[in-house]
Symmetry: C2
Subunit: 278 residues, 2 copies
DNA sequence: AATTTCGGAATGTGATCACAATTTGCCTTT
DNA sequence: AAAGGCAAATTGTGATCACATTCCGAAATT
């Protein structure tokens, strides 16, 4: 992750001389001003979803700001938004890192996905009837990514495939929840793919597309559910049940005084505002 | 909302002379430093959950900072976290306000609740067997709040009752999602209560407690589900089906398009940013 | 009297500085 | 050679300033 995915306006050289008052490049544009914070958040989000941020990877304000060529300020707000979605973990000492995967977390993420996503798919079915070809195209691109071994491209395409379906449900409430779940498991999936290889991947996308073409809600629900269980279940379990190999990448804050090593993430977040409504 | 719920350290007089280096009250404490941002977030969260922030209510950085006696900086990050949870709405022009309730939003929130909360309750049942008395005590306090008409206290207690149950499920993933949902519907419920009165409230808490005492998972699931449907369904529909009292005023900057991560609601300003309607 | 226009006030955004708490690397000591 | 300690570097947090944009109200115009 060295630049913004949508537009590579600025490279990582200067610490963003000015961004507020020096952007009169386009004037006839009726579009809203591009907020740097949103670009940063989109960049980090993309990095998480494509596996460029590995679990345990330390994320620093100034580091990220330097990479993206902005000041630490928009990064702070972006990080805050991601951490509210539990996509980033704020340790008790304030340091930020990509959450590490545990068995419990993985099972619960799987659980949440099965609970929400097949449901969204069913809701979306009526509006998907004319998108089967588009989905098939995306699925073809996924297959290409699988044979070429481009894990980042695969993850991006797979996300697009699923959310193309879920978005059609038109849900303003559940869709963001599903996005939060994806942001949490995606970094780990990258690790898992890197360990077991992409050849082990077998999705149920073609069953889902067929269900859409047949306008079969129950078939679509089953396809999505099995897609989740197959993709995450097999790979996740096979990786999590193995003892932690030393291949863990940067291995940043391993020796943090995690006094309660049993589970430090007791609450919602490592250091969440203690909501004591009484 | 004029001060922090947990500790009333500073009153709203000075614009926070110093907060970074002026908190050496406790030194032998190994606990993490109390971050102002988290206190602000907790205050806003509490204000939302107790209905002190009415849908449509404008939230400004400097205004909130002044009320809480802090600088706008921690407020910015707190607001960012809440908006990531869709608890606050960032309009295309950047202004922040409590989201207004629409029919679609309400139905989806109801939907999400029914999808997640009964499930959490069932998961929590084994660990709730020895908490029935505590829950009964909370429920008694709820009844007191209902007869006295203290809506804020009622909402706080009701939240505590439900989350006492959900927390016991020990879910690190789904629980935050449910919290996000609550933060979204709570402000509207306060409005609804203010309009139809608290006397119309009939919860299924006693059925839930009985189910816990009997260790009956299905009964607990049904109790929670009916509690949600009864409480939100009746009141919500009766209020939403009425035409809005005020004609839709100025419709804030519609011409701008935002580049946020998820979709964003716009327009439909139903009430002026006045105080609570009751 | 209704509409338009214009200017001050308010608001969000980004940048920068100061500072406390850690972390990290190097050095000294045993 | 290993353990301990000290200082520099790093990091998150809060405050403050500058600025573009937007909002609001009053004054001028039609």
């Amino acid at each position: 992750m060295n630049d913004f995915p949508p537009d590579r306006a600025r490279s990582s050289d200067a610490p963003a001389s000015n961004a507020a008052g020096a952007a009169p490049a386009k004037e006839a544009e009726p579009t809203a001003r591009v907020v740097t914070r949103d670009r940063v958040e989109a960049a980090v989000r993309d990095a998480l979803l494509t596996g460029q941020f590995v679990p345990g990877h330390a994320v620093t304000l100034r580091g990220l700001a330097g990479q993206l060529g902005v000041s630490p300020m928009p990064v702070r707000e972006a990080i805050r938004g991601l951490s509210a979605a539990n996509a980033l973990d704020v340790l008790p000492n304030g340091r930020i890192r990509v959450p590490t995967m545990t068995r419990q977390r993985f099972d619960e993420l799987l659980h949440a996905r099965v609970l929400l996503e097949p449901h969204l798919a069913m809701l979306a079915l009526p509006k998907l009837l004319d998108q089967a070809d588009d989905l098939a195209r995306i699925d073809d691109a996924i297959d290409v990514s699988l044979v070429t071994g481009d894990v980042a491209a695969y993850m991006r395409r797979n996300h697009e495939f699923h959310f193309r379906i879920y978005r059609a449900a038109g849900s303003q409430i559940i869709l963001p929840l599903v996005e939060h779940v994806w942001l949490q498991f995606a970094p780990f999936m990258r690790t898992a793919y890197g360990r077991v290889g992409t050849s082990a991947l077998e999705d149920r996308h073609k069953e889902a597309i067929a269900a859409i073409r047949e306008n079969d809600a129950e078939k679509l629900r089953v396809a999505i559910e099995r897609d989740i269980l197959d993709g995450m279940g097999l790979i996740g379990h096979s990786v999590l049940d193995e003892p932690p190999v030393a291949a863990a990448p940067p291995e940043v804050g391993r020796k943090i005084r995690s006094a309660s090593a049993t589970q430090r993430r007791s609450g919602v977040k490592a250091r969440s505002p203690s909501k004591s409504p009484d």
